[in-house]
Structure formats: structure tokens, C-alpha cells
């Protein structure tokens, strides 16, 4: 059900005592080009969502990030860190392992803010110059949300915080 007062993307659920329980946002998959089995380019919806991200009190910048329930942590490209004026390589260094066992060098930072439809999540992320796609993972995103529901048919992700 959509709350007309707050617009089509935002609704607030109320407990019996009329206090707000959680707030939720409906965001949508993004269509990206992909080759089909015949090599033809088709557009496929992928769970990339728009979010604004900032560091400490810095200016938020809007990026598309992949909501990836299989990722252990938030992992952003090093260039996103540069854009947010983070001294990326000053973070604590850790190797991250991707599919196929490929290791990438990444740097951990606290003080990252994620804004989705006006809701702020104060979190942390790893940054790596060997990573091209921003990823929202279990620690730092899913664990900060109440629920994250994928509705592939409607190409919709409902996030309650």
C-alpha cells in the first residue's frame, strides 16, 4: 500500500500505540545491456539501486549500487572513495576474495553514509581500486535494514529500515 502523503516511494508502518515501527522504501531494478545466448544485446533488469553516499559530513554523491545478498560486506570502487574525498589507502587493509578465488586489495573505512529515498544508514565499507561495481553486502547494508525484499517480477526492491 502506498502512502499518498509521503509520495509513492515512502510509507511508514505504525504500531498499535501509534508510534512508527519502521520506514520503508520501494526502489527499482535498473535495466542493463547483456548478451543473450545468440550474442544479441538485450536489456536485463538487475538489482542496482540509486543511492546517495557520503563520507562523514561531506557532500553526498548519487551512484548506482548492486544489492548483493551474497556479498559479505559493502565494497565500493576506490574511485568512489576518491570522489567522497576519502584517503582510501589510509584505511585498514584487507584482502577480499571474489568468485573464482580472485583476491583484491581493499581498505576499510567507517563514517560512510548511505541515503535511500531520504533515509540515512550510517555504515562502513571496503574500498578497492580493483573493484569496478559498487556492492551493498550483508555487513554494512543488510544488517542495517529491517528487511530487504526482492520482487523480481515487478522489478522492485522493498527496503524497510
Amino acid at each position: 500500500m502506498k502512502d499518498k502523503k509521503h509520495g509513492s516511494f515512502l510509507r511508514a508502518s505504525k504500531l498499535k500505540d501509534n508510534t512508527e515501527d519502521f520506514q520503508s522504501s520501494e526502489v527499482y531494478y535498473s535495466p542493463f545491456p547483456q548478451q543473450d545466448k545468440n550474442g544479441k544485446v538485450v536489456y536485463v533488469p538487475k538489482p542496482f539501486i540509486n543511492l546517495a553516499v557520503n563520507y562523514k559530513r561531506g557532500e553526498p554523491r548519487v551512484i548506482k549500487a548492486l544489492v548483493d545478498s551474497g556479498a559479505d560486506f559493502n565494497l565500493f570502487p576506490g574511485y568512489v572513495g576518491d570522489l567522497l574525498k576519502i584517503n582510501v589507502k589510509k584505511g585498514s587493509k584487507r584482502n577480499a576474495v571474489g568468485i573464482g578465488g580472485m583476491q583484491i586489495e581493499s581498505f576499510f573505512h567507517e563514517g560512510v553514509g548511505i541515503f535511500i529515498e531520504g533515509h540515512k544508514i550510517e555504515t562502513n565499507a571496503y574500498f578497492s581500486y580493483q573493484q569496478q561495481i559498487p556492492i551493498l553486502g550483508q555487513n554494512g547494508f543488510f544488517d542495517k535494514c529491517n528487511t530487504v525484499t526482492f520482487n523480481r517480477k515487478e522489478e522492485e526492491i522493498i527496503i524497510t529500515i
Partner: protein, 58 residues
């Protein structure tokens, strides 16, 4: 509301692009995010990395 595809995005695989807030037009493209951000300085945009055309496992 389902999002509509941004036509021509396939030309920018493995690159960064800046799109307008209505998510219909590509305003700038480049090899990395910093290069693209310099091209659209002062404009309200959405930055995105375009994944490869092959099936992608991040």
C-alpha cells in the same frame, strides 16, 4: 514504476557514465569515475559503472 532502459548503454560497458536524474540520457562517459565527475562538475547526476555484456558475477 519499472525503469526504462537507457538506449545505447552497451557502448559503455566496463566504463563509468553520468546519467541525468530522469535516467534517460547519458551526459558523460569515461574510463573512471573521477574523469566522468570532472566532465559533469556542478550538475546533479547519477554515476554508474556499466557491467560487462557477459554474465557477471561480482
Amino acid at each position: 514504476m519499472k525503469q526504462k532502459p537507457i538506449r545505447g548503454l552497451e557502448k559503455y560497458v566496463n566504463k563509468w557514465v553520468a546519467i541525468d536524474k530522469s535516467q534517460t540520457k547519458i551526459l558523460a562517459a569515461g574510463e573512471n569515475l573521477i574523469e566522468v565527475s570532472k566532465k559533469v562538475k556542478g550538475k546533479e547526476v547519477i554515476f554508474m559503472a556499466v557491467p560487462p555484456l557477459e554474465p557477471y558475477f561480482p
